[in-house]
């Protein structure tokens, strides 16, 4: 694997425009951004052909900092905007950066329908289990019994398994990793970008300042170690006894299949409508 020198990141950042960034010390979002940039650099994609789309939330601030075509949209609607861009310019690589609240609460409807259409979008879903930007409210992935500012007695709701949700809705590439496993994340991002269809990568991340404090998770380093210790690669799951994998974060490519992609299907439909013969 080609090794990308550290400086590459600086070439892709709008460092002269909008830094410092808004993220708290210890936040995983910067790590994810680093992995996205390294993946794009390794794939040698033309940045003029990349559109990064996001909704609203901590992770959704990402496009502002990076030198692509960037679209910071409305809360929950990143996938709808991205669908418009991709449908009109199918050759462009559209990367959606979103969070657990943005993508699966307010934006849940767009997630399931984009997955169902199998439109060629790359979704990086950064899951920090909480609404960080608004100060720590319960999200669809806040674990049962965890605390949030709107769950002061502990959360009574079960949480979404985001990858199962995406698979159930029809996503053709689904993977999960954590912000600790940066090399793995970089590889999965490349796989997701290269996948011809709807690809979703869940990155389990750490929000030490809000989620961590509310739930006594320790320092940012403690939370990173927890991601290392509490996750199991999919390849190891079958070999381990069930009690060893219970409640663990399963990392790996959970789904990968090739099925008709939406913009390609639409191009065929146009040919049909124009009365042209199939090639």
């Amino acid at each position: 694997m080609a090794s990308i020198p550290q400086k590459v990141i600086h070439e892709y950042l709008r460092h002269d425009k909008k830094f410092p960034h808004v993220w708290c010390a210890g936040c995983s979002n910067g790590i994810v951004l680093g992995s996205i940039i390294r993946a794009v650099a390794e794939l040698q994609l033309d940045r003029d052909d990349i559109v990064m789309v996001s909704g609203i939330g901590c992770s959704s601030r990402m496009p502002v900092y990076v030198d692509f075509n960037t679209l910071h949209t409305l809360h929950g609607r990143a996938l709808a905007f991205a669908t418009g861009v991709k449908m009109f310019k199918p050759h462009m690589k559209v990367i959606v950066v979103t969070g657990d609240g943005d993508c699966t609460a307010i934006g849940g409807n767009h997630l399931i329908h984009a997955a169902r259409r199998n439109i060629d979008l790359t979704v990086i879903l950064i899951n920090n289990n909480i609404y960080g930007m608004t100060g720590g409210q319960v999200s669809p992935t806040t674990p049962h019994s965890a605390y949030a500012t709107t769950a002061p007695y502990g959360n009574i709701e079960p949480d979404f398994n985001l990858c199962n949700l995406a698979i159930g809705a029809g996503a053709s590439f689904v993977a999960r990793t954590t912000a600790f496993h940066t090399q793995e994340m970089q590889n999965y991002i490349k796989d997701a970008i290269n996948h011809p269809g709807f690809a979703l990568l869940e990155v389990v991340s750490a929000c030490p300042v809000i989620y961590g404090r509310l739930n006594k998770k320790g320092t940012p380093a403690d939370m990173m170690k927890a991601m290392r210790d509490n996750s199991v690669p999919l390849t190891a799951v079958e070999k381990l006894p069930p009690e060893k994998t219970e409640g663990k974060i399963i990392r790996g490519i959970l789904k990968k299949e090739i099925r008709p992609e939406y913009t390609a299907e639409y191009a065929k439909l146009c040919q049909l409508a124009k009365g042209e013969k199939d090639e």
Partner: protein, 400 residues
Amino acid sequence: MPNTKTKLTKPEEAKVEAKAKSARGSRLMQGNEAVALGALDAGVNFFAGYPITPSTEIAEILSYELPKRGGVFIQMEDELASICSIIGASLAGAKSLTATSGPGFSLMQEGIGYAKITETPCVVVNVQRVGPSTGMPTSPAQGDIMQAKWGSHGDSPAIVLYPDSVRESYELTIRAVNLAEKYRTCVILLLDEVIGHMREAVTLPDIANIRIINRIKPTVPPHWYKHYDENQKYLSPLASFGEGYRYNVTGLTHDALGFPTNKPNEAQEMMDRLRKKISYNIRDLVQIESREMEDAKVAIFAAGITARAAKAAVSTARAEGIPVGLLRPLTIWPFPDEAVRKMLHNVETVIVPEMNQGQLLHEIQRLTKAKDDSDLVPIQKTDGTLITPGEILRVIREVH
């Protein structure tokens, strides 16, 4: 014989009317069909929508026509997704449009605000039905006039057009697309349910005679590009994604480059630009029809299908010798303040028929300053039926 002089204030649209020969033949068509054909002739190549009565025919026709022309039609999962995807497509370079009705229009308001703050061209057609809420889906009302201006949170000046016939639905759809491109904003076309579903014979003009406006493209190299360039008389060039400009778009208050800002001076500049690009171009935007107003003592101020009833009432009243005229806004926002002030100064009584609880009346009251300005007589109906020529005629006779 009654004087039937009609005056359109904008010569370019009048030209379309004059050149409308039968090259494409005369056809019986519905208002919604006229909107769809107008969109295609204006160069719309992206439609995203969600089914809703009484606007659905627009989506149905475009789902058939757009793929034939290599354009995009997509039925989205809801109206929130529809408005957002047409904005995304527009930034990628499309001329985009969606169509809906009251409940969907309410859902689209956040996206409409986003299109306005990011100055992204797009068109929303709202075929109005009775509200509030689900109301009466197949019955006419004119209750969304204020929503079309104030529906999205925050101050966001609006361009809203309002046709009164099938033919004009075609023309104003083209104009809506043109104005969206020129002013880089979300333009709204308000239709009445009855106009959307009414069939009239329409002769479409030759394509060559239609004036099409396309967004201005930047001529500067990417590192000089400002996504919101104040030096361009509030009408700044717009690069599309993929053209090498790599700019940022955000719904946050932003600076001229498009990056988020909390600085009061930059926030004020942005808000001023949104306001001024409308208010400095009133003459280009406002379009009214003035019918028999020269010697009128009584005036009717009405829009859309209600103006059609008013026209019939004016003809009958004129035949009876009553000096009555009609002032009709084709552009409802920005409001035709100047023409309305003149009307209030010149006539004794203004009758304001509308299928709502006084949304136009309220605007006219705003412009009533002098004590000797005309008396205002409302006719208001919100029961899902039209205001008839007879109802307006009765009031004309009463006030005369």
